[in-house]
C-alpha cells in the first residue's frame, strides 16, 4: 500500500481508542454481512465475498473431500458447505478466476485485529480489485 495508508494505519495503531473504533466499525459491517470470524487477514475479495473461515476446518484453499451431493457440509449437514457457496457466488459474480489464488497459512498473530488497518499497513495482502487474478498472483508454483 502507499505511504499515506501506512501512515494512517500507524497512527491508528498508536492510539488504542482510535484503533478500537476502527475495529468496531469494521466488525459492524463484516459481522452481520459476512459473518466474519476475525482472522484479521481478509480474503473476501478473492472468495466471492464469502468468508471461508466459516468452514469447520477453516480451509482457505478450496473444499475438503466431504461436500455432500446437495452441496451441504459433512460436519453440519444442515448448513451449506462454505466452498460450495463460494463457488455458486463466484459463478454469479464472474469471479471464478479469483478462486485459483493460493492463500498462505493464516498468521495467528493477526486474529482479532483489524484486517482493514493490517491491509493499509501492508502487513497482509491487499484487496483484490477486478475479476481476474494478477499475473504475479497466479505464480504460486514451487521450484523443485
Amino acid at each position: 500500500m502507499s505511504k499515506l495508508t501506512e501512515g494512517v494505519a500507524g497512527f491508528c495503531e498508536k492510539h488504542s481508542t482510535l484503533y478500537k473504533c476502527v475495529l468496531l466499525a469494521e466488525n459492524a459491517v463484516k459481522k452481520p454481512v459476512f459473518r466474519c470470524q476475525n482472522c484479521g487477514q481478509c480474503v473476501l475479495s478473492y472468495n466471492a465475498f464469502t468468508c471461508c473461515m466459516r468452514c469447520p476446518k477453516q480451509i482457505r484453499n478450496g473444499p475438503c473431500g466431504g461436500t455432500r451431493p446437495d452441496g451441504h457440509c459433512e460436519v453440519y449437514p444442515e448448513r451449506h458447505c462454505i466452498w460450495w457457496l463460494i463457488n455458486e457466488r463466484a459463478k454469479k459474480l464472474g469471479r471464478q478466476q479469483k478462486l485459483k489464488k493460493y492463500h498462505i497459512p493464516v498468521d495467528r498473530r493477526f486474529e482479532d485485529t483489524s484486517a482493514w488497518l493490517n491491509m493499509m499497513a501492508g502487513k497482509i495482502e491487499g484487496w483484490s480489485w477486478g475479476k481476474d487474478l494478477k499475473e504475479e498472483e497466479k505464480e504460486t508454483t514451487v521450484k523443485h
Partner: protein, 336 residues
C-alpha cells in the same frame, strides 16, 4: 528433484504402480504392523499408514511407518492437519525422514465429530494445500517460517483428490492448487462410480494435470452390500453406483463378489489414460490385498532399485531419469 522413494523411481520408470493401505493398531501393538506387513511385502510398491483416520485414536502414523519399514514395506506416511500445528508437523516430518520414511501424503483430516473423541479440539493450523507447500519448502531447505534448514528432507509428496464430491469445478481447481504447491503424486477416493470418474479424469487431462503429477486411482474391496449402502448414504463425498449394490445383494458369496468388483475396477482403471497406478484401500481387510493384486494381473511387482537400505542412497547413486513422467504407453479407453 529426485527423492530416494522407491515409489517415485517406479513411477519415473513408467511402471504402473500399486499402493496398499493399512490402519495402525488401536493399541501399543507393534507386532500388528509387522503381521500386516506380510500381506503387502512384494505384493504392492508402497503402503499408506493412516493418521488417526476418521478421527479415531490409533498408533501414530510416524511410528507405524517406521515399523512398516522394519516389516519390509515402503511406507507412505499420511499426515493430517487436524492434530498438529505447523511446528509439530515439521518436527514429525524431520523425524520420519531421518528414520527412513520417504513418502508423505498430506491431508486436511476428518473432522473430530466423526471419531471416538468428538470433544477434541481440532487444530487445522494449515490446510492440506498449505501442508503440501510446507513439505515442498522443506525439501528445498526452508522451514515454513522461511528460515534455512541445514539438512533438509527429501520427501516424495502426495495429496488426495476426491472426484466424486461437489462442486465439480472446485475439485479440478483444488487439484491444480495442490500441483502448484508441489505435490508429486495424487491418490483418489475409491472408485464406485465410473462415469463420474471418467468425467473427472477427462477434465484433469484437459488441464494437462495428468502430465504434471502421478495420479493413482483408489479402489476398495467391500465384504457386503451393507458396507456399500453405508458408503453411499453415510460417507459424505462418496458416490456409489446402484449397479454394484444390486450385484452385491444378489450374490451368493458377497465377499467373492466384492473382490470381483474390485478386480474389475482395477483392470478397467488400468486402461484409463492419465492413471499411473492403483491405490487399494482394504479397510480392515488387509489380508485380501495379495489376491486382488494377483487377480488383476499386477504381479510380480517390479523390483525396487534399492532393497535393503533406503537411507544410504546418495545423489551419485541415483539412476538417471529413465523416462519422462507419464511416458508409459496406455490404451485410451475413456474417449469412447
Amino acid at each position: 528433484m529426485t527423492t530416494e522413494s522407491n515409489l517415485e523411481s517406479l513411477l519415473r520408470e513408467g511402471h504402473f504402480v500399486v499402493c496398499g493401505e493399512m490402519s495402525p493398531p488401536q493399541g501399543a501393538d507393534k507386532d500388528a504392523i509387522l503381521r500386516k506387513s506380510d500381506y503387502f511385502r512384494n505384493t504392492v510398491d508402497a503402503v499408506n499408514l493412516t493418521d488417526n483416520q476418521t478421527a479415531i485414536a490409533r498408533m501414530s502414523s510416524v511410528m507405524s511407518s517406521v515399523f512398516a519399514l522394519e516389516g519390509g514395506v515402503e511406507p507412505i506416511m499420511q499426515m493430517t492437519c487436524r492434530d498438529r500445528n505447523r511446528l509439530a508437523q515439521q518436527s514429525d516430518i524431520l523425524g520420519a525422514y531421518s528414520a527412513g520414511v520417504r513418502n508423505i501424503l498430506c491431508l486436511t483430516g476428518d473432522y473430530m465429530s466423526f471419531g471416538n473423541h468428538p470433544g477434541a479440539k481440532g487444530v487445522f493450523d494449515l490446510d492440506s494445500v498449505q501442508l503440501i507447500r510446507m513439505v515442498s519448502d522443506m525439501n528445498a531447505g526452508r522451514f515454513q517460517c522461511g528460515e534455512e534448514m541445514k539438512a533438509p528432507p527429501r520427501m516424495f509428496i502426495g495429496g488426495a483428490a476426491n472426484p466424486f464430491a461437489e462442486p465439480f469445478a472446485m475439485r479440478i481447481m483444488r487439484l491444480g492448487k495442490k500441483i502448484a504447491a508441489g505435490a508429486h503424486f495424487i491418490q483418489t477416493q475409491p472408485v464406485f462410480d465410473f462415469p463420474r470418474f471418467e468425467r473427472w479424469i477427462k477434465a484433469v487431462r484437459d488441464e494437462g494435470y495428468d502430465e504434471q503429477v502421478y495420479i493413482l486411482a483408489g479402489v476398495m474391496p467391500v465384504k457386503s452390500a451393507k458396507a456399500l449402502i453405508y458408503m453411499k448414504e453415510s460417507v459424505p463425498g462418496m458416490s456409489v453406483a446402484d449397479e454394484y449394490i444390486k450385484r452385491m445383494e444378489s450374490a451368493t458369496d458377497p465377499k467373492e463378489e466384492g473382490m470381483a468388483i474390485c478386480v474389475e475396477t482395477m483392470k478397467r482403471l488400468r486402461e484409463v489414460e492419465g492413471i499411473k497406478g492403483i491405490h487399494i484401500m482394504p479397510v480392515m481387510w488387509e489380508s485380501i490385498t495379495p489376491r486382488l493384486v494377483e487377480e488383476a494381473g499386477l504381479l510380480p511387482r517390479p523390483k525396487p532399485r534399492m532393497q535393503d537400505n533406503l537411507t544410504s542412497i546418495s545423489d551419485a547413486e541415483l539412476p538417471p531419469e529413465v523416462k519422462k513422467a507419464g511416458a508409459a504407453p496406455k490404451a485410451s479407453g475413456v474417449e469412447a
